[in-house]
């Protein structure tokens, strides 16, 4: 900054430390709660320091799950979430990049119409069309399957726009040179455009993986078979047990495990994550 004001620096750090505490405190409590035995939650208030049951709780959740909730072991739910998030991210990128390629590099009848049909998906989030979409999926026999969990979510207007914007910045000369050299459209796409889009694809993958992992309402509707439960939706079933207090130590172990993969991705892929976020949303 322009001038030196010690009190303002102190204030700045103070604001940030308070901010970090507010952001981190709920998760700190969850981690602490997941290290205690079941008895710790019968007294008045939650303990604030770690207990000795860390390995017991996580071990039990990963291998057996919570028997009272009818949910499968967390290992299975984590695997389902992983499969779902990866399919959604990869498929969204794949179908978006070829759509954008068609729209930017070809001129054909109904091009504008196709563009608008894709654009409309922005205005139809799954939350507002749940019942008819559920009906379509159930009529197609896709309930309780990975296809049903993922396919209705993989159309992506934002990813298509991102690639379209990016392709428009690729110099025309590249394609002219490729054509002079006798390369056809698929060869140009594979050998020139794909390598150029690598960073964009990676950044987008981070964002879309998190998007897929966080899905809640959709898995809640299309899965009734515990074999296909995802961890984010499974947690709710554990926390909402009828006529009894939830087993907080176990629920919180599940919460921590459900948060961990996407949070680690954000922390370790921060550069790609920020790039993907800023570009897809703007």
């Amino acid at each position: 900054m322009v001038e030196n004001r010690p009190w303002l620096n102190v204030l700045t750090h103070l604001v940030l430390v308070v901010g970090v505490i507010i952001i981190a405190f709920p998760v700190y409590l969850a981690v602490i709660a997941s290290t205690h035995g079941p008895g710790a939650f019968l007294s008045n208030v939650v303990p604030l320091l770690p207990g000795p049951y860390l390995l017991d709780n996580y071990g039990q959740m990963l291998s057996q799950g919570m028997s009272t909730s009818g949910a499968p072991p967390l290992t299975l739910m984590l695997a389902n979430s992983l499969v779902m998030a990866i399919i959604i991210a990869v498929a969204k990128i794949a179908i978006s990049i070829i759509s954008a390629y068609a729209i930017v590099y070809f001129r054909f009848p109904l091009r504008t119409l196709a563009f608008w049909i894709i654009f409309i998906t922005l205005m139809l989030p799954v939350e507002v069309r749940i019942i008819p979409t559920f009906k379509v999926v159930s009529d197609l026999g896709l309930l309780n399957s990975y296809a049903g969990l993922t396919i209705p979510l993989i159309a992506s207007a934002t990813a298509t726009f991102l690639f379209r914007q990016f392709f428009l910045t690729v110099p025309d000369e590249l394609m002219e040179a490729a054509r002079v050299d006798g390369a056809g459209p698929m060869k140009f796409f594979r050998d020139i455009l794909l390598p150029l889009s690598r960073t964009n694809m990676a950044a987008l993958f981070v964002i879309l993986f998190i998007y897929g992992w966080m899905q809640y309402l959709w898995p809640l509707l299309v899965t009734t078979d515990p074999k296909f439960y995802t961890v984010v939706m499974g947690i709710k079933r554990m926390a909402a047990v009828a006529d009894a207090d939830p087993q907080w130590n176990l629920v919180m172990a599940a919460v921590v495990l459900a948060m961990l993969p996407p949070v680690l991705i954000v922390i370790f892929m921060q550069r790609l994550f920020v790039k993907g976020l800023v570009e897809t949303e703007k």
């Binding site: 922005l122 939350e127 947690i235 926390a239």
Partner: protein, 294 residues
């Protein structure tokens, strides 16, 4: 629409390339949306044997229904509170991080990760803290003489979902505010400082106007988030209760359609929600397009 100067002359390939995206869009987006519009004009008898076309009766019934108007009002309060809190807190944090050159990045990492926490998980975390019997925050409030029980107190239930939803959204707003602040040219601030403007005056006269495009963008995104992405927060904490006090529109569509099996009314609600998203998206897109040209 922009295109390339040169293009590939190919008749069928572009259709093949567009086919997967268009097929999914038509089957899972356009068709269900049309179905929603259609059934919003129909009444289905309880056994599903017969449907009658009833024009706008579902809509007029809905708009005269105090429960729906209540949900509309609650959604408005909720969206305004979440937007104001999430944007206010994140702006303060972003301004603070922007002042620091070296340690700013560490703070950024510590602040951005809630982006990856699912709304329903955020709901469970805050529910745990405000749990009337064992929650730490309800205990602290109890010590201060406030009896906390969001299962019976409507205002407290609203506070709970507002806090959980805002907590999750701070990191997103924070990143965009940091990006916006970093594009404010340092020379402007320096010139103003030489003219004798203090840090707060500089903030109001230079940073705030230059930040207004980002603020407007985030305003729309946050309203969108509060209205549509907070289903998980509500489902995990209050399930719309007590006495409908947190039954926001997107939760009501689900509750009426899936739990109440009132298809016509739920479809009419879906259509009204779609209209709201369309308005928000068009505003957002217009604005983004205008900005891109600069």
């Amino acid at each position: 629409m922009q295109t390339k100067r040169t293009i590939f002359p190919n008749m069928w390939l572009p259709y093949g390339l567009l086919a997967p995206q268009l097929a999914i869009t038509l089957v899972f987006f356009i068709w269900p949306a049309l179905q929603a519009v259609k059934s919003s004009f129909e009444r289905e008898d309880p056994f599903g044997f017969k449907t009658t076309f009833i024009w706008f009766a579902n809509y007029s019934k809905l708009l005269a229904d105090p429960m729906y108007l209540n949900a509309l009002w609650r959604t408005l309060i909720f969206a305004v509170l979440v937007t104001v809190i999430a944007m206010g807190v994140s702006l303060v944090l972003a301004v603070a991080v922007n002042r620091l050159l070296r340690s700013g990045r560490v703070y950024t990492t510590l602040l951005v990760w809630p982006y990856a926490v699912a709304p329903v998980v955020a709901g469970i975390l805050w529910w745990f803290m405000f749990n009337p019997s064992i929650g730490i925050l309800s205990y602290v409030l109890g010590q201060m003489g406030v009896t906390w029980n969001h299962r019976v107190n409507a205002d407290q239930a609203m506070i709970l979902i507002v806090l959980a939803a805002s907590w999750k959204q701070i990191s997103y707003n924070f990143l965009f505010f940091v990006a916006g602040l970093q594009s404010v040219p340092a020379s402007l601030s320096e010139a103003a400082a030489i003219d004798g403007a203090g840090p707060f005056k500089r903030f109001w006269t230079i940073v705030v106007p230059l930040l207004s495009p980002t603020t407007f963008f985030l305003l729309i995104v946050n309203i969108n988030y509060a209205m549509f992405d907070t289903f998980g927060v509500v489902d995990a904490t209050t399930s719309g209760g007590p006495a409908q006090s947190t039954n926001i529109l997107v939760y009501k569509v689900y509750a009426d359609g899936f739990l109440g099996l009132n298809i016509g009314s739920s479809a009419a609600q879906s259509v009204l929600l779609m209209l709201i998203v369309i308005v928000l998206t068009v505003v957002q897109f217009r604005f983004v397009e205008r900005r891109v040209q600069y």
